[in-house]
Amino acid sequence: MKLSIFLEQLPDEGIAWWQNLASGLGWTLGTAFFAWIIAFTLGSIVGVVRTTDKRWLVRIGDAYVELFRNIPLIVQFFVWYFVVPNVVPAVKAWVIAADPTEFQFVTSIVCLGLFTSARIAEQVRSGIQSLSTGQRNAGYAIGLTQVQTYRYVLLPMAYRIIIPPMTSEVMNLIKNTSVAFSIGLVELFFRTREMAEMTFRYFEAFTAATLIYMVIAMSANRIMAIIERRVAVPGYITGGK
């Protein structure tokens, strides 16, 4: 164990290793943040669609979830990064014109966003379906439209129910950003490997990465716990505080 390694300079770059890891952490958090926005938005839409009475919409929603849920994340990264630009000429033109880092960043956000959205969609669906059909019928009975029933009756309850599994998804998303190293995104895991390979201080580098990932995933957990407490309706969910 040699902690001073983090203060040592990188060859030819004028920054220390801890700064290199910190820049990686920035990319990790940025990727996770934007991917979460995509995941939550798309996941909610697809999840809701799968509980409507339109059969064809349900089919499309199911297909979407199965597509993104059944392919390993690393394979999805390769498809987005290597295959899509070669089959879609517009993407190819953009790839060549764009800054390579920018393309890696956007690819990672889209890939992780869609992957996670399929999982969110599944949770939103199960949250809505866990409510008794009486809730939906009550909404219709007092003259609400389908959209209004979702907005005012079903979703407020469903989201509260699924906060705990959604917390896991946020934590998973943060940890899954590490797979983006495979397309060369310079996030925390990429920087960790780089440090290990160039200094041969594998133990120090990976210990640092382990602690950093734990701290950010646990912070996300705490934040979600606060949200859960803030929005809790007393007596609504059994065992709720």
Binding site: P11, D12, F82, P85, P100, G184, R193, E197
Partner: protein, 299 residues
């Protein structure tokens, strides 16, 4: 009885001292191999023609041929003709940790022997000497490394090319953007797809990727060299017993001239699976390494 004891002891001691190498106490890798009955060779999946998978997904190549000579020597040394040889794929990034933690006992690929790496691992005799340079597309109008200013280059993460290109940028005050592939095939794909203007890597590996590409005539390798580097097989550090066996075996292949046949087989003739021909004649540096087997690392 009492009087003969010291004599017996002395006899035993002298017997131990004059015993042949095979009878000395085993240590390090040889001890581990003897105990587990398995010798694990780490190979690369796309380091053509050193160590790569053929159409039957079997690792073959120049380095693999040399390493199999070492495997034979291990079998003879340990008197284990049925020694199990298992093959484990490794990458640029995991080859050193996997060697250190005992997953593999020797790495046979295209690993640069550097002084820095020697702090972590040991090397056998140099079996190849390369130049680090760039592969570019012929129609890109790039004729020197300096022409890469402002362009994007690809390289494989975890290789010695990464710090080299960074220090070159600094000394020549040019600016390039690096993107990283996780293996050579991927880095080359970035060049082939025009997403990088050049692929910076060891010249022989570039020749391999070019020969393997859809249209080899589209590419060229720049004559400049960022650095010369010796290649060798990696073994665990501080394992003098195994190192002596490796040096003796590979040195013997070099001294006997058998190495010339191996070289011609892999670098001057079509190699499986697709019949690619590297057409890479022996350079003076390589000839010299064969004449004087050594394990000197590059700075």
């Amino acid at each position: 009885m009492k009087r003969t004891a010291p004599i017996t002891l002395a006899l035993l001691l002298s017997a131990a001292l004059i015993a042949p190498a095979g009878a000395q106490e085993l240590s390090g890798t040889l001890k581990k191999v003897k105990e587990t009955g398995t010798f694990t060779v780490g190979y690369r999946e796309s380091s053509i023609p050193f160590s790569y998978l053929d159409d039957k997904q079997q690792p073959i190549g120049y380095a693999m041929d040399l390493c199999m000579k070492i495997v034979d020597a291990v079998k003879a040394e340990l008197k284990l003709p049925n020694l199990k040889v298992s093959l484990q794929p490794v990458t640029s990034s995991n080859r050193i940790p996997l060697l250190q933690n005992g997953t593999i006992d020797m790495e046979c690929g295209s690993t640069t022997n550097s002084v820095k790496r020697q702090e972590q691992v040991w090397f056998g005799p140099t079996y190849f000497v390369i130049n680090v340079t760039a592969a570019v597309k012929k129609n890109a109008g790039i004729n020197a490394l300096a022409d890469l200013n402002g362009k994007t280059i690809s390289t494989t993460s975890g290789t010695t090319s990464v710090p080299l290109i960074k220090s070159y940028e600094k000394t020549k005050s040019i600016n390039v953007k690096e993107i990283y592939g996780k293996d050579h095939a991927e880095s080359f794909l970035l060049l082939a797809d025009d997403r990088a203007a050049a692929f910076i890597m060891d010249d022989i590996l570039l020749a391999g990727q070019i020969a393997n590409s859809k249209s080899p005539a589209d590419y060229k390798i720049l004559p400049e060299s960022l650095r010369q580097e010796p290649y060798s097989m990696m073994i665990r550090k501080d394992d003098a017993q195994f190192k002596a066996l490796v040096d003796k075996t590979v040195g013997g292949v070099m001294k006997s001239g058998e190495i010339d046949k191996l070289y011609a087989k892999w670098f001057m003739n079509p190699v499986p699976p697709k019949g690619l021909n590297m057409n890479f004649p022996m350079t003076p540096a390589i000839r010299d390494a064969f004449k004087n087997p050594n394990d000197k690392g590059v700075q």
